[in-house]
Symmetry: C2
Subunit: 504 residues, 2 copies
C-alpha cells in the first residue's frame, strides 16, 4: 500500500540555500558554525536518538567514586579463562632495602621495598632457588599458600610434583619495582619529601627490576647463584635480563613468549594504551591519589591491551559474530559479544591496578633492549648517577635529564640503523649469556610478541654459544590459538619441556 | 669515592608506622586516602617531575579551538607515504534523492545526497561504468581533475592507459552515505526538524551504502548494468555487497583486502577506537557541532587505527628502535620514532573527519555479513519499515528499535553457532554472486583484514559458482610488507591483474 508521496517542500529548498554545500560537512572553518534552526525545531526527528548505556554507566561510576561509595565491582562479570587477579593483594612478605638503587636512565630511589611470595623450601646448599618473574599486570601471587589461599595466576603450574616442582625447588616470585602490589612504585611515598611519588617517580627499566630482585635473593636468602630465572611475557624479558646482569649467578634461564628487545610494533600497541590513559582528565598528570582515579582511561587502555593478548581464530571460535543480545538493535555502545567481553575485561581491571604503575611498567617494556649500544649507555648513565649521588649529599638528578617542554622532533626521518646492523648489535649485547643454558618458547598465534622474536632469541643465543645449551620450542596454531596468553592456558604444552629443562 | 652513608632516620621509621603496608598500594579502599605529609613537604623530591609536552599541546589546542583561532594544522608534519586527504573537500558533484531510503536496521532517511566525482566518459551503450568504492576515511577524490587538482588517493592507479583505464572506462567514485565529505551523514540536516542529525542519525550498513550508490548510477547516468564494482578495504566489502544486492546489474566485482563478513577480531579493534572516541567529554553524545569537537578522542582513535594499517616488519625497517631524539631521556609522551609517527597521524586526522561519521561508518563495517541469516533479517526489517512509512505519514521508527537504557547482557556466553555452521550460512548467503565474475586480492601482511578472509571469499565463491569466474591473487610478504595499506602503495602488483580482469 505505497500511497504516501515523498516529502518535498519549501523547508528543504530553503535549507539548500542557507547552507551552501561546502559548509555542510565538517571542517575547521565551521567549528563555530551553529546551524540555524529555520524550520520547526520542535518537530520530531526522522529517527529516534540513540541511547548510550555504556556512558551512563561511566557517569554513575564517576559519581560513586566522588562520593566514596563505590562498591567493589562484582566478580559475577563473565571473566573468561583469565586468572582472577586479587583485588586486594595480601599475604606477601616485604624485603626492604635502605640502600638506594640507581637506575638505567639516571634516576634513583633512595630506598625501596620488594614484595614477594615463596613456595617450597630452600635446600641446605642454597642451590635450588628459582626466581619467577611476572608479566605487566600480574602480582607475586602465582599460587595459593596459607598466607593467601586465593588461586594464583600459575596455580596449577607450580606445586609438589608439578611442572615447577616445589618438592625440588624453592620458588620466589616478586612484585616488580614500579608496580602497585606491594613493591615500591609511583604510589609509594618518596622519603625525600614524604609525598607519593606519582610522576616524580623515575623512569625504570626491566634491568632495573631484576637488579632489585637480585638484592632480595642475596640479602634475604643468602643465595649466591640461583638455579633458574623463569618468566613469560614481560617475565620472559626479565629472565633474559637476569642472565645478562648476573651471568655468573644464574644456572638456567627460561624465557616464554618474551623477546630480547621490544619491537616497534609492540611499542606502538603500548603507546596507544598509554596515550589513552594519559588523556583521561582524571589522570591529572599522575596526581590523582586521593581523588577520582582515571578509571575510564584505565578501562580503555586495558581493552586495547586485551585485544593483543589473544588471537583471531580463538575469538572466532569463542564469540563468532554473535551479538550480546540478537533481539536488540545494533548500538554504538558494546553490542557484539566480543565487545561486551572487552568491556568487562576493562571494567574488572580499571580500579585494580594503579594507573601510574601501568604507565611506568609499560614504558619499561618498550625500553627493553639487550643490544650492546643500549646496555652500554645504560650502564654508563647509572654509574655516573651513583658517583654523583655519593659525592653530593643533596644530590638530585640533573635537570638535563628532564624531558624538555616541547614535543620531541625527529632527528632522523627513518631508522638510522639497518635491520642487519641492529641484529649484529643484539648479538654483541647478548654475548654475556653465551655460557648460560636457556630454554625459549615461542607461540605462533601470539600477536603482541610475534614468534619471530623468540626465534631471534634462540638464533642469537645459538650463534653466540660458548658452552650454554639453547633449547627452542615453538607452539604452532595446531597446538594453541590462545596467542600471547598461551602460557596461562596451555599448561602441559609449556610445562613438560619446562620441567625437563629445570630438572636436567 | 663512595663516602656518603645510605640515609636512615626517624622520618622513614615514622612513615612505616603511619602507612601500614596494606594501604600503601592502590585499592578502592584507599580511594579517599590522602597521604599525610608528616615530613617536610617542602623538601625536594628524589627525582625531578616528568614533563608532558604532549598534554601541553592538547591543552593549547583546546584553548585555540574554544577561541575559534585554530589555524589549519601545518602540512609540514611528517606524513609518511599515506595519501594526503583533502582538508577541505571540494570539486565533487551532488546527487540528490528526494525519495527516502529505508535502512537495514529499520531507520530511514527521508531524503539524501550523495557526493561523487567522475573520470573518463560514459560510452553510448552505457556499458563502461565502473563504480569505485572507498575505504573508511577516504573521500570520492580518488584522482585529480579540473574541478579539484589535488592528488587523489589512487592518483596513479586511474587514468588514461593506467590500471583503471579512463580511455576505456567511465569511473564514478562516491562518498559513502554516513560519511562527511559531502554525502548525507550525521553532520547533515535532518529535514524533519531542520537540525543536524548527530546521533539521531540511524545506524547504517554497507548494503545501505551501495543501494544509495545504485540510485545514483540509475538516476544520474541512466545505467542499467555497470561494468564493475571495484573497492579495497571497506570498498572491498561494498563491491561484494553491490554484487549481492544487484546481481543482474553488475558484470564484474573486484574486492581487494576486503571480507565477506567482519571477523570478531576486526570488530574488537574498531570497538576500542569507538569507545575511546565516545569517552572524550567533548564528544557529548554526538552533539558537538558548533562546539569544541572531540579532537583528542579522534586523534587517539586514529592512532589505534593506524597501528592496524601496516605491518610489524615494515615498521622494523622504517622506524626500528630509533627514538625521535636519542640525546633526550625517555618520556611517557611520544618518544620512540614510531610513537611520534602515530602522534602525527592522529594529529593530521583529528579535525579532518567528522567524529560521528567515523563512528557510524566504523559500525557499518562491523555489521557487514553476507551470511544468509543476517541478510534475510535485514531485508525483512527494511521492508517492514518501508511499509510502515507509507502507511503512516507521521511515521517515526518504533521506539522498540531504540537501544535499551541498560547495557546489553549476554544471552549467550559463547558463540552460539559453530565455525562450520557459520561458514555454511555464508555460502548460502553468497549464492547471489554465483554468476558474477569476481577478482579477489589478499595480502599476507594484513592484520586488519587477515588474508584468510580473502581466501574465504574466493573459496566460497568457487564452491558456489554457477558460471561466475573467480580469480584469486595473494601478495605474500616477499611482495609486500605494507599490510592493509598495500593497495595504496604496491600499485603495480595490484594493478596488473586488475587491468587484465577489467579489460578481459
Amino acid at each position: 500500500m505505497l500511497t504516501r508521496i515523498p516529502k518535498q517542500g519549501s523547508g528543504i529548498i530553503f535549507r539548500a540555500k542557507v547552507f551552501p554545500k561546502t559548509l555542510k560537512f565538517f571542517s575547521t572553518t565551521t567549528l563555530n558554525f551553529k546551524p540555524l534552526v529555520t524550520g520547526s525545531g520542535a518537530n520530531a526527528a526522522s529517527n529516534p536518538q540513540l541511547t548510550f548505556p555504556c556512558l551512563d554507566k561511566l557517569e554513575r561510576k564517576n559519581k560513586e567514586l566522588s562520593l566514596g561509595i563505590l562498591k567493589k565491582h562484582a566478580n559475577t562479570l563473565e571473566s573468561g579463562p583469565e586468572p582472577a587477579y586479587n583485588f586486594e593483594q595480601t599475604g606477601f612478605k616485604l624485603y626492604r632495602s635502605e640502600k638506594p638503587i640507581f637506575l638505567d636512565n639516571g634516576g634513583h630511589l633512595p630506598e625501596y621495598e620488594i614484595a614477594y611470595e615463596t613456595w617450597g623450601k630452600l635446600n641446605e646448599s642454597k642451590s635450588n632457588l628459582i626466581i619467577l618473574q611476572t608479566g605487566l599486570s600480574a602480582s607475586s601471587h602465582a599460587k595459593s599458600h596459607p598466607g593467601n589461599p586465593k588461586k594464583g595466576w600459575w596455580e596449577n603450574f607450580i606445586g609438589p610434583g608439578l611442572y615447577i616442582d616445589t618438592n625440588k625447588f624453592f620458588v620466589v616470585c616478586t612484585n616488580v619495582l614500579g608496580g602497585c602490589y606491594g613493591s615500591t612504585g609511583p604510589s609509594s611515598i618518596d622519603p625525600s619529601n614524604n609525598e607519593q611519588y606519582a610522576t616524580r617517580f623515575p623512569i625504570i627499566t626491566i634491568n632495573d627490576m631484576v637488579r632489585a630482585q637480585r638484592e632480595l635473593v642475596r640479602d634475604v636468602f643468602g643465595v649466591q647463584k640461583i638455579h633458574a630465572a623463569v618468566g613469560a611475557s614481560m617475565g620472559g624479558m626479565q629472565s633474559l635480563a637476569y642472565g645478562w646482569e648476573f651471568p655468573d649467578e644464574v644456572e638456567k634461564v627460561i624465557s616464554i613468549s618474551g623477546c630480547a628487545r621490544s619491537h616497534p610494533y609492540s611499542i606502538a600497541l603500548r603507546h596507544t594504551q598509554r596515550q589513552v590513559l594519559m588523556s583521561d582528565p582524571n589522570w591529572n598528570r599522575g596526581f590523582y591519589y586521593g581523588k577520582i582515579p582515571p578509571h575510564v582511561g584505565m578501562k580503555l587502555a586495558r581493552e586495547i591491551a586485551t585485544v593483543t593478548y589473544r588471537s583471531g581464530p580463538e575469538w572466532e571460535y569463542r564469540f563468532g559474530r554473535n551479538r550480546a543480545d540478537e533481539s536488540k538493535p545494533p548500538a554504538l555502545c558494546p553490542d557484539f559479544l566480543v565487545e561486551t567481553y572487552l568491556d568487562h575485561a576493562g571494567e574488572k581491571f580499571c580500579l585494580e591496578y594503579d594507573a601510574n604503575s601501568w604507565l611506568y611498567v609499560s614504558k619499561a617494556m618498550d625500553l627493553f633492549d639487550l643490544g650492546d649500544q643500549n646496555r652500554a649507555k645504560a650502564v654508563a648513565i647509572r654509574q655516573q648517577a651513583e658517583e654523583n649521588y655519593y659525592k653530593n649529599s643533596n644530590y638530585i638528578p640533573q635537570t638535563s635529564s628532564i624531558v624538555p617542554k616541547k614535543p620531541y622532533s625527529e632527528k632522523v626521518s627513518r631508522a638510522s640503523i639497518t635491520v642487519e646492523d641492529a641484529l649484529q648489535d643484539l648479538k654483541q649485547g647478548m654475548k654475556k649469556l653465551s655460557q648460560t643454558d636457556v630454554l625459549v618458547f615461542g607461540v605462533e598465534s601470539d600477536i603482541l610478541f610475534p614468534v619471530w622474536q623468540q626465534r631471534e632469541i634462540a638464533n642469537v643465543l645459538r650463534d653466540n654459544s660458548q658452552g650454554g645449551d639453547v633449547e627452542y620450542h615453538e607452539l604452532g596454531t595446531d597446538v594453541s590459538n590462545y596467542g600471547h596468553d598461551t602460557f596461562l592456558l596451555s599448561l602441559n604444552d609449556i610445562g613438560k619441556p619446562v620441567k625437563k629443562f629445570l630438572e636436567a
